[in-house]
């Protein structure tokens, strides 16, 4: 028997209640959970960088370049889970060539490529151009040619050009802020606009996705900042770290409020789908939602960071608390994506039953495949930090 069908027969035996016959298999699996998670990190890291640049938050300066490079590293990987999940991955280009403009997913082609990629690439380029010229002069071999190519053969180190670079970079950043909102807002809209699915269909969905993206992005930059400084054996800028943690705290509050509002509203109105959704939350999702997403991923960090606003323990302890909290937040946001994507497909659109989901270890949509897409961006980031070391830049005045 086809092994694919074996799994389906098993799922058939585990059906609880009634589901439409075509609903046995979940169409969107862990790769689709990964996509909003990764783009969330992209958007969040970018917004943190923009905070520093546009709103002149001086204390965040040490993280500016790291945030940009992190955003870029994850952006390069972001489409991969999507392409690998497609039934016909070799036709993926069709989204760029004939996008259907009524589809939120088609907008992805534009937001991803034309907007955020260009904004991010330009912003990094304008920030690094001067340094690329300097490094090109000092380097040898392949690295030299790489720097020359990336600086487009520029040899201009005049102060006037640097000032122009900074001005243009600033303009690009301002233009780029909506792109970060759009990139993740549209992902939320992809789910929020599906009237057939009451777990997804809510006005709050793009906003919840956006704020949870900011939470995850800020948490990631915070964690990376600590880790990178540890690897480089540098003394960490505690003011910067405290500031990041403060912003993380504020955004978690907003995110938590939004998500709670959505659920309270749902429970209060108790529409047709209320019963099946209650069963979903108390049953299939009780571990991933109540314990992991809310308990460990949101409430625990919320109270920890809140407590730290009033009482700040010693530096080392504080740093470690931030590290653990950041990781917990990232795990929590991952589970938030899980609960939305997988949770929304576990119950039948007849509202009369549930199917089941089993994550396989191997296979095109297995745990190992998903892990690869989570790990690769860190390798890319390491490469970027080697090629464009932020600590070797000539300090620029933004």
């Amino acid at each position: 028997m086809n092994p694919e069908f074996e799994q389906l027969y098993q799922a058939l035996s585990k059906v609880d209640g009634y589901i439409y016959p075509n609903e046995i298999e979940l169409s969107w699996s862990i790769l689709i959970v990964l996509y909003p998670f990764i783009t969330g990190l992209v958007a969040g890291a970018f917004i943190l960088a923009s905070l520093e640049r546009v709103f002149n938050v001086k204390s965040l300066k040490p993280t500016y370049v790291i945030a940009l490079l992190t955003s870029f590293a994850f952006l390069l990987v972001a489409t991969m889970p999507l392409i690998f999940h497609l039934g016909q991955p070799l036709r993926a280009w069709e989204i760029m060539i004939t996008p259907h403009l009524t589809s939120a997913m088609a907008i992805f082609g534009f937001v991803y490529l034309w907007y955020l990629m260009i904004v991010l690439v330009l912003e990094i380029w304008f920030d690094y151009r001067y340094d690329l010229v300097i490094w090109a002069r000092a380097a040898t071999g392949l690295k030299k040619w790489l720097y020359i190519a990336l600086s487009l053969g520029s040899d201009d180190t005049s102060a006037k050009s640097v000032k122009l670079d900074q001005k243009l970079g600033y303009i690009v950043t301002v233009i780029g802020i909506p792109s970060a909102f759009l990139l993740h807002g549209y992902v939320g809209f992809i789910f929020g606009s599906i009237k057939a699915n009451p777990w997804w269909s809510t006005v709050m969905m793009p906003i919840i996705f956006l704020f949870s993206a900011m939470v995850s992005g800020i948490a990631l930059v915070m964690v990376l900042f600590i880790v990178i400084n540890h690897i480089r054996k540098q003394k960490i800028d505690m003011l910067c770290l405290d500031t990041i943690a403060k912003y993380l705290f504020y955004i978690i509050i907003i995110d938590f409020t939004m998500e709670s509002l959505d659920q309270i509203h749902r429970f209060y109105e108790a529409e047709e789908s209320f019963e099946i959704i209650s069963l979903l939350i108390s049953g299939h999702l009780n571990f991933t939602l109540l314990i992991m997403q809310i308990g460990i991923g949101m409430l625990l960090p919320l109270f920890t960071l809140g407590f730290l606003q009033f009482y700040k323990p010693k530096e080392t302890l504080r740093k470690n608390i931030y590290l653990v909290t950041g990781i917990l937040v990232l795990i929590g946001i991952f589970f938030m994506r899980w609960n939305v994507v997988i949770g929304g497909q576990l119950f039948s659109k007849s509202f009369l039953g549930f199917t089941s989901f089993k994550l396989s270890l191997i296979g095109p949509e297995g745990f190992l495949m998903a892990s690869i897409w989570l790990i690769v961006p860190f390798f890319i980031l390491a490469f970027l930090l080697w090629l464009f070391p932020p600590w070797k830049k000539t300090p620029a005045e933004h």
């Binding site: 016959p21 069709e94 009524t102 909506p178």
Partner: protein, 255 residues
């Protein structure tokens, strides 16, 4: 000096916020605007406009429709892929509802609930509703699914990228992912038969003629008479899908 600086940064803030907000609003209207257009789609009044009518009072739950559909359209025989299926509803005297569809009804049905507990029970055949304000067409990112001028919703298997967004968007569970072709598949109202002047396979082979399809624009067609003379309902009308599958005697409990 500091005052000028703060008012400058405040001005900057508002300028930036304004740009951001303006762009957001402007661009956010793009997909939504098209969606409004979809909802306002006018039905075709010239030429054939296909609809489907199913009479619950005639359906005996033999499953022949589901069986012939699979054979006519080369749908995989496994119980996970259906273009058309039959459901059995049983409303018990205590108010609880039980719905079953073993292998889509292809092998027939048995009744496991004792007769004395049953308040009401009936069969409901299901298939693609060929909606004319279809949410599945709305969400396809590449234009691989579409509605023909005659009102039949089709999937272009050479163009579908298999993103499965349409499967998520269909409120009736009509679409499935074909395990061999690796694209999305669904009922085509036997487009290949209609174009040759034949009826859809499920309708030709229904022993009680419980399902018919035809031209909604022709007032003398069987389906137009069906809609005129019977109390017809569509599934999930609150979703405003423009469903063209009209049921006679549909019970409110039907999902």
């Amino acid at each position: 000096m500091t005052e000028k600086k703060t008012s400058l940064s405040r001005r900057n803030f508002f300028k930036n916020a304004g740009i951001a907000a303006g762009t957001l609003v402007a661009v956010s209207t793009l997909p939504a605007f098209d969606a409004v257009l979809v909802a306002a789609v006018k039905r075709n009044t010239k030429g054939p406009w296909y609809g489907i009518a199913i009479d619950i009072e005639k359906c005996i739950g033999c499953g022949t429709c589901a069986k012939t559909c699979k054979i006519e359209n080369n749908v995989p025989q496994e119980p996970f892929f259906f273009r058309s299926w039959v459901e059995q509803y049983t409303i018990k005297k205590d108010g609880t509802l039980k719905v079953v569809s073993p292998n889509g009804g292809i092998d027939g049905f048995t009744q496991s609930i004792p007769a004395e507990e049953i308040e009401k029970t009936f069969f409901v055949p299901k298939m693609c509703n060929h909606c004319y304000k279809s949410p599945c067409i709305q969400v396809c990112p590449v234009g691989a699914t579409y509605e023909t001028d005659e009102g039949i919703v089709l999937v272009d298997e050479k163009y579908c990228i298999g993103c499965k967004y349409c499967i998520q968007a269909c409120p009736y569970g009509c679409r499935y992912f074909h395990p061999e072709k690796h694209v999305v598949d669904k009922c085509t109202l036997c487009f290949h038969r209609i174009k040759k002047g034949l009826n859809p396979a499920c309708m030709d082979n229904c022993p009680t003629k419980a399902r018919i399809s035809g031209d909604l624009n022709d007032p003398e067609s069987a389906i137009s008479k069906f809609i005129r003379t019977k109390n017809v309902y569509v599934l999930k009308p609150h979703l405003n899908t423009g469903s063209k599958l009209y049921y006679n005697a549909l019970n409110q409990e039907v999902r």
